[in-house]
Assembly symmetry: C2
Homo-oligomer: 304 residues x 2
């Protein structure tokens, strides 16, 4: 039986592994993909301190070497379920089962795609899902923000301080965002709204050059020249394998020590309820989750 199984080998999972191994815990990391998740798709990360500019792929390679060097074992496998059984946790995968005393879920989350032509091809070439990450590339340029919720408005405000002009393209004629955010964006002179409209296509050769817009009321199709498209139509956490308290969108609810509603099951990084999806917050979550898991395992020892 393992002391700790960590599901997910992104920033949160690998940091948890580094800490857990250093505490002497018998630790296994299980990762679904050969190259872990969301972060590896990022061309350039410029806000993880210590690396002025690095690709997500490279950074994750460094994290992986670090964790393995510290003594962590990382296995490729797909976790189907995490269940509590008489004080221990049972993890079922595509390739057999594991028993462990504690579990850290670091399974990440994926931004929901628009699903339009050009979106995938131009990802990191003008298409982005994070203004805090990619906004600084758009100084003095024109960008679109797609969506009408809190994330869309928060990032529209971020972009309004960097870009020359921000257009919010929203499929309805009112925002879903909280009133304080609505008030703030409405007062920004360089933010304009394009209501009742969706993006039908993102076009460009090497970089985003324009979008094709469709007005849902009139059916009118128009082209619009643009330098960047920031998409906020939802984030889907990868949490279906576990049955803990979650938000309505599936994010795992934890306390400040990263413990979920089930004792001994912890969550860290993008899969837990948070308002910030950054590498720095994920590594902090991972460390805190490992510290908490270690304390939990010590408490189990004493119950014997």
């Amino acid at each position: 039986m393992y002391d700790l199984i960590i599901i997910g080998a992104g920033p949160a999972g690998l940091t948890a592994a580094i800490y857990a191994v250093r505490y002497g815990l018998n630790t296994l990391v299980i990762e679904k993909n050969v190259i872990p998740g969301q972060i590896a798709t990022v061309t350039t990360i410029e806000n993880y301190p210590g690396f002025t500019s690095i690709s997500g792929m490279e950074l994750m390679q460094k994290f992986k070497e670090h964790a393995e060097g510290a003594g962590a074992t990382i296995q490729n496998n797909n976790v189907i379920s995490v269940k509590e059984e008489q004080g221990k946790k049972v993890i079922t995968t595509d390739d057999g089962g594991f028993e462990t005393r504690a579990v850290i879920l670091a399974t990440g989350a994926n931004p929901r795609k628009l699903g339009v032509e050009g979106e995938e091809r131009l990802l990191t070439k003008g298409v982005s899902y994070c203004a805090t990450c990619d906004g600084p590339l758009y100084g003095d340029l024109k960008v679109i923000v797609v969506g009408g919720g809190d994330s869309a408005m928060t990032d529209a405000l971020v972009l309004s301080g960097i870009a020359k002009k921000v257009y919010v393209v929203h499929r309805r004629n009112e925002l879903r965002a909280c009133s304080i955010l609505q008030e703030r964006v409405s007062k920004k002179e360089n933010i304009s709204f394009i209501w009742d409209t969706v993006i039908q296509e993102i076009q460009g050769d090497e970089l985003v050059e324009k979008v094709v817009l469709k007005n849902l009321n009139t059916g009118e199709i128009t082209d619009m020249a643009i330098d960047g498209v920031f998409i906020y139509v939802g984030i889907d956490p990868n949490t279906s394998m576990v049955d803990t308290n979650k938000t309505e969108n599936g994010f795992i609810v934890t306390d400040e020590q990263m413990e979920s509603s089930v004792k001994g099951i912890f969550a860290a990084g993008d899969c837990r309820r948070t308002s910030v999806w950054q590498v720095v917050t994920a590594v902090s979550d991972g460390a805190l989750a490992a510290i908490s898991a270690h304390e939990y395992i010590i408490s189990l020892d004493l119950e014997r």
Copy 2:
């Protein structure tokens, strides 16, 4: 007038600077020391993901280059006071004053010293103030933990999972730590207690070899061979320059968004109330503080 002044150029302050500059905020970092604080005294950091093993000095150099490369200005100066004046913040230094819209305190904290012979000379050579940081160096060795509070007992438990033997040396004959920690340490077979005793001297040539102990009841002096001495007799945050809600030990109380009891004054890293003093938690705090400061500054703009 600056948008944001960050006090302290350790991990929290420099990360806040990277984020703030990327948000387009006019940002100044003020650091008291030529080489910033606590972290630079650490010989080897092995738990900041991405760097398998790096000195604190080197890591801070990388953070500094990163922040300056992003556009942050770092100035050497000693901050005497931070005051709220009619909606703006006024910072007084040894070398004049500054006005700013928001402030992030990232001034760090220093572990209290025993003040005995050998403590400073053998720092990082067997003397440590952090088991999570340095514990893994003591696999199969014997260590002393000095202190009787929560930090001492938490780290005694960490060390009991790594080292062969842990002696808790405490000046009283009972612990101050909470009962659950007391219960846990009392059940660990490789933890023993040396009551009513203080360390008078730490000896060793290149590395810690032994300590001189004094029993406060009998006055008896004894030598004891030991490989490591972990000291937990208090932590002093550098927060005297600001008047916000603090804990009885002087740590700044913040909410989860790093805001202090004074609007527009934020705190990040070791100087705020937390239970974990790690580089990964400091960088996360720094990013969150910058995000919150940015939101605060946007809200000020709209009040005009």
